[in-house]
Amino acid sequence: MGPLFPNGLISGDWNLVFAVLIGIAFGFLLEASGFSSSRNLAGVFYGYNFVVLRVFFTAVIVAMVGLLYFNYFGWLDLSKIFILPTFLPSMIVGGVVMGIGFIIGGFCPGTSFTAIVIGKLDALVFAVGLFIGIFFFAEVFPYIEGFYYKGNLGNATLTDVTGISAPWWAFGFTVIALVAFWVSWLIEKKVRKRIKDYKF
């Protein structure tokens, strides 16, 4: 049955309508979970607020497990969905740069947008920086083009690269995430005693 759009069950226009609706739900969830505050987000790296870890990993494990079931039921054809391509060197550098950006800026692109609409100026400045960053990237692109396309593994899945089947990955992620949830609780309890201006 699914995915509906690649299978031609809904038109491109409806796909865009659903894009808006999905975006609304996504924005709502991000904001309601507390991702609109850079202090909440940065908290994960200083141990006083693990909301990012909780939301993020819960979402990943639910989606991973759900996709496997849906694929099995024939509701969703996993071979037809978009798999993020892998370009080893550029993605490694990209990940590191994004990590530094995260700890300095306190937002990631999606969360900054949710923070803008509730009136945070730092998020607005962050978003401006985002545009500048991409513009800057495009300007230097001719010089790093070779690097950008290097190490292309194609739309590689974890199974393609490691040979370990998807259920193992889903189960592994679930166990790691659940352990992380419990451990983060203990860390939070300790660290929060030291922080005063921030209400939990």
């Binding site: 494990i61 639910v62 978009f82 739309n155 259920p167 193992w168 189960f171 992620f173 679930t174 659940l178």
Partner: protein
């Protein structure tokens, strides 16, 4: 510490462990065997040479002819804009681009329709839609379109109409009196490659 968190943890673990019991998917996505037979016995999956000729003449943009003969034979003669996909290359990823394009009718042709029919069944098994088989294949194409027989006196009026059409079609396809380039010369092949965007587009 709330007890419900233990419950959630256990539920999630069970759900994740449950994925181990899902049977492995085959390499190719295939339709159910029951459904395949049902599709096979539909007579509507056959088209006649006249229908194909009419679509080619009208330059029907939704028509895509897939020739399943060997590349050598294909090089010698083919219908206008036909694409060559022998059975063994059916499952090559490159051929898959031709299938499953919305709004495109695929017509399989071979020498006599049998090979085309077999490839139709294989492609159908892979779940592709909008596919037809030209009944009688190229042999009947020659018999009906290129060398049509005049109907006898006693035959119904429609037979004569058909004959008239075939005579016209013959001129069109052999280029006897119309422009030179139709069949013998390589016609510019319009390839409807599936837009990859539909499936693979994405990324942040």
């Amino acid at each position: 510490m709330n007890r419900n968190y233990f419950l959630l943890t256990i539920l999630m673990l069970i759900l994740a462990a449950g994925t181990f019991f899902l049977k492995k998917q085959t390499d190719y996505k295939q339709i159910n065997a029951d459904k395949l037979l049902w599709e096979i016995i539909q007579p509507s999956r056959f088209v006649t040479t006249d229908q194909v000729a009419r679509m080619i003449i009208q330059k029907d943009p939704s028509l895509e002819i897939l020739d399943v003969r060997s590349p050598e034979e294909f090089a010698k003669f083919s219908l206008p804009n036909a694409i060559n996909i022998p059975p063994d290359s059916l499952m090559a990823p490159s051929s898959n681009d031709y299938f499953g394009i919305p709004g495109i009718k695929i017509v399989f042709i071979s020498d006599d329709g049998i090979k085309a029919d077999q490839e139709w069944v294989l492609a159908k098994r892979l779940g592709f839609k909008n596919m037809y088989v030209m009944k009688g294949g190229l042999n009947r194409w020659i018999e009906t379109i290129i060398q049509p027989k005049e109907p006898g006196e006693s035959e119904p009026y429609t037979a004569f109409e058909e004959y008239e059409f075939r005579k016209g079609a013959r001129l069109y396809f052999t280029g006897a009196k119309v422009e030179k380039s139709t069949v013998s010369k390589k016609v510019k092949v319009v390839i409807h490659r599936k837009k990859k965007a539909a499936v693979a587009a994405g990324g942040c």
